[in-house]
């Protein structure tokens, strides 16, 4: 062995029914570096790391840790090898304190009067405080998880690994849920960890982050390792091209907007959530034909509730919603749809699709009850098939069995294509996009951005709600920044800089 590799995955292959997730992949990670895994969705990054963390076993190939061949059969074995992983979805007990979450499973024990064992939370708190100081991971160990925000929860996950003395830290898309400012601080933490001697593996499809922190970067495409590069001296465009396998358009082509008549008018909208808590607190704005109005904001500030209220999924407690001249405030979902609302919801699995229906039934979800799909309550299967075939072709939905593909088995990108196709075909004056590109890869994002601009150019009013600031800056004609259920500032996109929007999002700056 010429170099000191802490992790070697040699010729690893992993197959799932119908797909090769990793095909003969070899990666070698040096001790003390930040090693990025870059690839589109479904490229096999997460699968590869799941094998390193013991959640799957490779079908072929070997894993070597610290120069020794290992069979990692379970996450607990991986932990014993000092490997830790922060998952995309946090695994925390929400009514436990931060310290309790961190020590769960490895509780320090003491015996009272030398007899009765109890959990020594004091020592734990001390240890957590010293760890968090060492790496700049600011948390209060005595706070309960449900009371802290997403970025704190993520820090708790990191501390959990450090508490278990992890030396090799795997981050699975860690910035997906964070604001720009939070991302900066996370990247700083990751650098601190490396400087403290840890080895970091970072799974991501965000090129900027790799550019900022990573030392080396492995690019995966469709399960195969394309290349391993030093990040220095490589620009993001080159990374993108390697990742997608073709030339990528980095900027959205956009003509200047031509505003038409007013399509959506929201007046002093107030919405309560299921817990009777007011999440939208008096929001007013309007959108014209040919305008992309974007709401920027940190997740959980009421933006998706605005969309749900407009679409009729959440009741309005006061205020007015006027669509294309019709007051829809008290209308049923069906009537609103017919009044002219298309809606691409945030959660495609639980809202946008019936996963156990096949593709054609999902594509007809908005119009199954109308002619020619149904006559006098009786369905016409031929219409479903024809319409499905038409949309699959027009929107390039890739699916194994065409019309009869069960939607659950499709990839996220193709599910989203189906929803967007279905909603655009509604040809409604107002289209609402909520997080339209969440979890999608660069090729799909490019495509969806193009569709959103096309809708605008066709003279539709577009409401775009996104947590991705880059997306908003690239697409919006007008931006409203939401913070704590209120729109802080509404202004033409040209009048905002990215960092300014970020400040409004954090509530640092207020509208005067």
């Amino acid at each position: 062995m010429t170099e000191d590799y802490i992790i070697e995955m040699r010729n690893v292959t992993k197959r799932f029914p119908g797909i090769v997730a990793n095909d003969d992949v070899t990666i070698k990670v040096r001790k003390g570096e930040i090693y990025a895994l870059l690839g589109e969705n479904g490229a096999g990054k997460s699968t590869l790391m799941s094998m390193l963390f013991g959640m799957y076993e490779p079908d072929e190939g070997e894993i070597w840790v610290r120069g020794k061949k290992e069979e990692i059969k379970s996450p607990s074995y991986a932990t014993r090898l000092n490997i830790g992983m922060v998952h995309q979805h946090f695994k925390l007990v929400s009514n436990y304190t931060i310290a309790e979450n961190i020590i769960l499973g490895v509780e320090p024990k003491k015996k009272a009067f030398g007899l009765f064992p109890y959990v020594d939370i004091k020592t734990a708190n001390e240890k957590i405080r010293s760890l968090s100081e060492k790496y700049g991971l600011e948390v209060d160990p005595e706070k309960v998880i449900s009371d802290v925000n997403v970025s704190t929860r993520q820090r708790v996950e990191i501390l959990k690994m450090l508490y278990r003395e992890a030396e090799i830290l795997i981050f699975d898309e860690p910035t997906a849920v964070l604001t720009p400012q939070e991302i900066d601080s996370l990247l700083q933490i990751i650098k601190n960890l490396r400087d403290g001697g840890k080895t970091i593996i970072l799974i991501t499809h965000k090129l900027e982050e790799i550019k900022q922190v990573a030392d080396r970067c492995a690019i995966l495409r469709r399960g195969k390792l394309i290349d391993v590069r030093d990040v220095e001296g490589m620009d993001t465009r080159e990374m993108a091209n390697l990742m997608v396998g073709r030339q990528v358009q980095m900027k959205v082509e956009k003509k200047p907007a031509v505003f038409g008549k007013e399509i959506l008018n929201i007046k002093d909208l107030r919405v309560k959530n299921d817990d009777d808590f007011e999440v939208v607190k008096g929001v007013s704005f309007n959108i014209h034909a040919g305008e992309i109005f974007a709401i920027a904001g940190v997740s959980g500030n009421g933006q998706t509730d605005i969309a749900d209220a407009i679409a009729g999924l959440l009741p309005v407690s006061s205020g007015k919603i006027i669509v294309d001249g019709t007051d829809v405030t008290d209308m049923s979902v069906r009537k609103r749809t017919e009044a002219g609302i298309s809606y691409i919801p945030e959660d495609r699995h639980s809202v946008g699709l019936v996963l156990d229906f096949d593709l054609k039934d999902n594509l007809a979800l908005r119009r199954y009850y109308k002619e020619p799909f149904a006559k006098k309550g009786v369905l016409d299967p031929k219409s479903f098939e024809d319409y499905g075939t038409k949309l699959i072709d027009k929107y390039d939905v890739r699916c194994a069995r065409g019309n009869t593909t069960i939607v659950r088995s499709m990839s996220g990108g193709n599910q989203q294509k189906a929803i967007i196709g279905r909603e655009i075909e509604q040809d409604a004056p107002l289209t609402i996009f909520v997080q339209p590109t969440r979890g999608l890869d660069i090729g799909a994002i490019e495509n969806i951005h193009r569709q959103i601009v096309e809708e605008r150019d066709k003279g539709k009013a577009v409401l775009l709600i996104s947590l991705e600031l880059d997306e908003i800056m690239a697409l919006a004609d007008t931006i409203g920044v939401i913070y704590n259920g209120q729109l802080g500032k509404i202004a033409p996109a040209a009048e905002f800089t990215t960092s300014e929007v970020g400040e409004y999002m954090m509530g640092v700056k207020h509208h005067d």
């Binding site: 799932f16 069906r334 809606y343 919801p345 639980s350 699709l353 156990d356 149904a374 369905l379």
Partner: protein, 366 residues
């Protein structure tokens, strides 16, 4: 037929075979010959000839009474399937059957109406009674978010004791300790009809059962209502997003489910039997769950599954008299079928894995 359906049918057959095999082990332990026992089951249902027949009886007599016995089950299982389609678990089918049977008995069963009027009226009253109980469960779910399993079990208790109170105080037959027999003109089974020297029970309801199977199948696959119920059952939030009034769908599915349970009730209490035993809920409503599961909630699958399960239930008396086995062994086998069909997700998964393995091997060779 899609591959998926083929796999499902294969899994259903597999679970039946497995349960018969497991049942055979039980019978062997009891020291009897399982093959003879299973043979006796078929003989008891008139599907195989018996050694000898009593006066006025033939294989057709057995077959006709088997179909008479089967009819309520087809309706009950359809009732289960319709509720299940909208994601509701109607465990109150027996209670709905009893309610329909009792109300039809006291209104029409004891009247002097002529058969052409009485029989349709029995049916209509059964449908309405069942539908009302079903809708009540759906309404409680929609308005107060009361779990349908809880409310239907509670309603089962209520109707069981309220009805047995009325039977014992007003309609009891002092000899049989059951409700008095209804008159023949109201009965949905033509009882002990003599044809060519043999006696038969002709279940008029069976024709209706076949029609109901076709109607429910059509409703599921080809109507807006069926599409909506399925959407609500698969994903309530997405259904709401699609503009479906989900609350209304829940009530409608329970109303239809209740109506079918109502027909099951009248074909049972005013067809197969002519009276009601107080304080007892028939097991049909519960066996219907096994039938629904085995038939994969598909109306045609259900028809086949009810044929099968009712062979075991109906043939058990003859089996018991011939081989000396307890007739309860039938319930053991039915229970095993329920168990194995409930495991079908596991079998499906295993089959899918095996398929993937095979195609990989093929791919590797090529």
């Amino acid at each position: 037929m899609t591959d998926q359906n083929k796999t499902r049918i294969r899994v259903a057959i597999l679970s039946v075979l497995l349960s018969l095999l497991a049942g055979a082990v039980v019978i062997l332990i009891l020291g009897k010959n399982p093959l003879t026992a299973y043979f006796n089951l078929l003989q008891g249902c008139g599907l195989l000839p018996k050694g000898k027949y009593g006066g006025g009886k033939s294989m057709i007599t057995d077959l006709s009474s088997y179909i008479d016995f089967l009819t309520p089950m087809v309706f009950a299982a359809l009732s289960y399937a319709v509720a299940m389609r909208a994601g509701l678990f109607n465990i109150g089918i027996s209670g709905q059957m009893l309610t329909a049977g009792f109300i039809a008995s006291i209104t029409i069963g004891y009247s002097t109406l002529a058969a052409p009027i009485a029989k349709p009226l029995v049916l209509i009253i059964g449908i309405i009674a069942g539908m009302l109980v079903g809708s009540l469960i759906g309404f409680l779910k929609e308005r107060f978010n009361i779990n349908e399993v809880v409310s239907s079990i509670m309603i089962n208790y209520i109707v069981r004791y309220v009805i047995s109170f009325f039977i014992q105080t007003k309609y009891v037959d002092p000899v049989s300790r059951q409700s008095k027999n209804i008159c023949d003109s109201a009965r949905l089974t033509l009882h002990q009809i003599k044809l060519g020297g043999y006696k038969y029970d002709i279940p008029l309801g069976f024709v209706l059962a076949i029609i109901a199977v076709i109607a429910v199948k059509f409703m599921f696959d080809r109507t807006v209502l069926g599409y909506e119920l399925h959407a609500v059952g698969s994903n309530k939030v997405a259904a709401k997003y699609a503009g479906i009034r989900t609350g209304r769908s829940l009530i409608v599915s329970m109303a239809i489910s209740g109506a079918l349970a109502g027909i099951a009730g009248v074909t049972y209490y005013l067809g197969y039997f002519a009276s009601i035993q107080p304080k007892v809920l028939v097991s049909t409503g519960y066996d219907a769950i096994a039938v629904g599961l085995l038939g994969n909630n598909d109306p045609v699958g259900i028809l086949v599954a009810s044929f099968l399960i009712e062979i075991i239930q109906n043939g058990s008396a003859y089996m018991s008299s011939q081989s000396g086995l307890e007739s309860e062994i039938a319930s053991v086998i039915t229970g095993l079928i329920l168990l194995f069909s409930a495991c079908n997700a596991f079998f499906l998964e295993k089959l899918a894995q095996k398929k993937a393995e095979e195609s990989r091997k093929k791919g590797a060779k090529a």
